[in-house]
């Protein structure tokens, strides 16, 4: 392989940049799974809807991007609350039913998006123009901005969980549902909160991806699979696990195609996950 160090370094940066967007998805998924014990397979559609909401806010209402993005997050958080209340609360305990419901939801949202939004590709205004010189490599500026935003959001989540009462209760609830009740916060409220936060994060991820690439009603499926891979690798319910696994997966995605070609890039993540799970079935940071 006559691949220069320059290209490898570029691959690393590219991969990590993308990885952070998937981390936003994974954080939401792992929160929801850790606390509600439901695999929210429709999360990809929340990601997609968040992107479309922001698109409409910027295109039709001419709002500035940052404001639109925040509104998008609020909007999807509200949607998450609605879904939790109406759908997932009824299905507590029957996780197969919850999965099917999430799948049904995915189908509805996806085809609904096609019908409502139409098929034309759209793009959210770019985050930034032009190239950026980062440690000797050229990176498109908009990717840099995306990474920064994702990191800020993740840090914000971390701070929330560590310092606020609700945050600590959520962490406790993930480990031990009764413990959270002792704190005076009911499981339903926990579920609502984590759903809201998870959906807001997914919406942010969708917005970032929508400005880097294109919007399409089907854009949510692939990040969902990547998000699931991340939480399996990192361990269900573990936030640091999601971060580290996200970085690892990003690295794999960025480097393997360059070094070994795309065939290996397709199976790479599976092999890594199998390897990790064989050694440690709960994932890198998971707990049983």
């Amino acid at each position: 392989m006559d691949v220069s160090a320059q290209v490898i370094w570029q691959g690393v940066i590219n991969g990590l940049a993308l990885g952070w967007i998937y981390v936003l998805m994974a954080l939401g998924l792992t929160l929801i799974f850790g606390i509600m014990h439901i695999m929210q397979f429709a999360h990809g559609e929340i990601y997609m809807l968040g992107a479309y909401v922001v698109y409409y806010l910027t295109a039709s209402f001419r709002l500035p991007l940052v404001l639109a993005a925040i509104l998008g997050m609020v909007c999807m958080a509200a949607a998450g609350l609605f879904l939790e209340r109406v759908l997932f609360r009824q299905l507590k305990g029957d996780w197969l039913a919850a999965v099917v419901a999430a799948l049904g939801l995915t189908l509805i949202l996806q085809s609904g998006a096609v019908v409502v939004f139409g098929l034309y590709e759209r793009s959210i205004p770019v985050l930034a123009q032009g190239p950026l010189n980062f440690m000797g490599t050229v990176v498109p500026k908009d990717r840099g901005v995306a990474v920064v935003v994702a990191v800020i959001l993740s840090l914000a989540l971390y701070v929330f969980l560590k310092t606020t009462k609700y945050g600590q209760a959520m962490v406790a609830s993930a480990q031990n549902p009764e413990g959270a009740i002792l704190q005076g916060i009911g499981p339903d409220k926990m579920a609502a909160l984590c759903m809201a936060i998870g959906c807001a994060l997914a919406s942010a991820g969708g917005t970032l991806a929508g400005s880097l690439f294109a919007l399409s009603p089907y854009m949510g499926l692939s990040p969902l699979v990547k998000g699931c891979t991340i939480i399996v690798l990192g361990g269900m319910g573990s936030l640091p696990g999601a971060l580290i696994a996200g970085m690892i997966l990003g690295l794999i995605d960025g480097l393997v195609p360059i070094l070994f070609g795309h065939a290996w890039a397709a199976i790479g993540p599976l092999l890594v996950v199998i390897l990790v799970l064989v050694i440690k079935p709960q994932g890198l940071f998971g707990h049983e």
């Binding site: 290209v7 590219n14 085809s111 096609v114 590709e121 498109p140 908009d142 880097l212 399409s216």
Partner: protein
């Protein structure tokens, strides 16, 4: 009834109800002027549904036009054209089922389709078995199993593949950018004949310094363009991609300043809108600049605006013009029998045998494919400089080499 018996009743009931539907749905309807049913398989759902729907609508619009003018007089009967679109889902298995429906249930003798070569091959299997004519509407790469061949009496290709534009593109490139020599190719994984590109490039004094192949469904072109720029090319050619705009944007964001060629029919206006004026310089495109549309294309646009609410999708003129050719072949054959229509196509090999929206054309391809079953018609070339589109004109593609 007991539980077990109840259960079988449910299933049997379902089967019965379905039988009901079938008999209801199949009740024959006698129409007064005859209807010529033409099927069309396009990806109506899925990631490139914009293209699928757009191309389908164009044919529908053309059929509307023909019907408004009184239909077609063939073999003593008057025929109204009716288009039956089905979803190919870009999946050969689903397309095979849909094609069977069109051919066996609806009785179509002509089927348009598709976009992916695998789907085209699947459609042909069904058509051949039923002796219906498969009209290939698009092919990413020629010569693949979905394409025409002497062994396939029921396949005619109505479109030009994007590789036919390489030769006129390279000539144009040498005219406008005589200094540029090093060419890098970025192509999708559909089986494009890259060896042929290398040969053609060499003939025009260009040197291919590398190529990158990406899988369909790729949204993120950064890794490919990173490697492309590492080879320091003067020219990057994005082959056969409706996402040429994104590719160009990626290249410019990485600091690429050279020439960019897009040989797909994506219009230069679309590329411009995606990339913005700063990035749009030194771009050659085989898409049609609609501000220089021919009268036929204008008619397509007008009809579209009257009938559909979405903005006009400029790739649609391709199938509009294919429908034009199809109707002309029907008229020449003076029949609705597939074999006679194929014979009509075979006979239209002289230049200017028929009119298309792009200009006069004829059937060709015998040298390369063994039969003259490929439409040869002019291709548009435009140049984008400093955010402005300069329409260069039409050039004849090279289909036979």
């Amino acid at each position: 009834m007991k539980g077990t018996a109840k259960r079988f009743a449910v299933v049997a009931l379902c089967l019965l109800i379905s039988g009901f539907f079938v008999f209801g749905a199949d009740s024959p309807v006698q129409a007064k002027p005859k209807t010529l049913k033409v099927g069309m398989l396009m990806p109506i759902s899925g990631p490139i549904s914009v293209v699928g729907v757009g191309l389908t609508r164009a044919v529908e619009l053309y059929f509307d036009k023909v019907n408004e003018e009184g239909g077609l007089q063939l073999g003593g009967d008057t025929y109204m054209l009716k288009l039956l679109p089905e979803d190919s889902k870009l999946d050969p298995t689903a397309s095979s089922t849909a094609a069977k429906k069109l051919v066996y249930k609806d009785g179509c003798k002509f089927v348009f389709g598709a976009i992916s070569p695998a789907v085209a091959a699947a459609i042909y299997q069904v058509c051949a078995k039923a002796k219906a004519l498969h009209l290939i509407t698009w092919i990413d790469a020629p010569g693949l199993p979905g394409d025409v061949s002497p062994k396939k009496p029921y396949a005619v290709r109505l479109c030009i593949s994007s590789d036919a534009g390489w030769e006129p593109d390279y000539s144009f490139l040498r005219e406008k950018f005589p200094e540029a020599r090093k060419l890098f190719i970025v192509a999708p994984n559909v089986g494009l004949p890259l060896e042929r590109a290398r040969k053609l490039a060499k003939e025009h004094g260009l040197e291919v310094v590398g190529h990158e192949i990406w899988d369909l469904g790729t949204q993120d072109f950064l890794p490919y363009y990173t490697k492309a720029l590492a080879a320091k090319p003067d020219i990057i050619q994005a082959m056969c991609s409706a996402q040429a705009g994104y590719q160009l944007r990626t290249a410019r964001q990485l600091g690429y300043k050279g020439v960019f060629i897009s040989d797909a029919p994506t219009g230069p206006a679309m590329i411009l809108s995606l990339v913005g004026p700063e990035g749009s310089s030194d771009v050659i495109s085989n898409g049609m600049d609609m501000s220089h549309a021919t009268p036929s294309m204008k008619e397509c646009m007008d009809r579209w605006k009257k009938k559909y609410k979405e903005p006009f999708f400029s790739d649609a003129i391709i199938t509009w013009s294919e429908a034009e050719v199809f109707v002309q072949a029907l008229k020449k054959a003076n029949s609705v029998e597939p074999e006679k229509v194929v014979a009509a196509f075979d006979s239209m090999t002289a230049p200017d045998s028929f009119q298309t929206a792009f200009g006069p054309g004829h059937m060709g391809g015998a040298n390369r494919f063994g039969v003259n079953r490929v439409v040869v018609r002019p291709m548009p070339i435009s140049l984008i400089m400093s955010g402005k589109i300069e329409f260069e004109g039409f050039r004849m593609p090279v289909v036979d080499k």
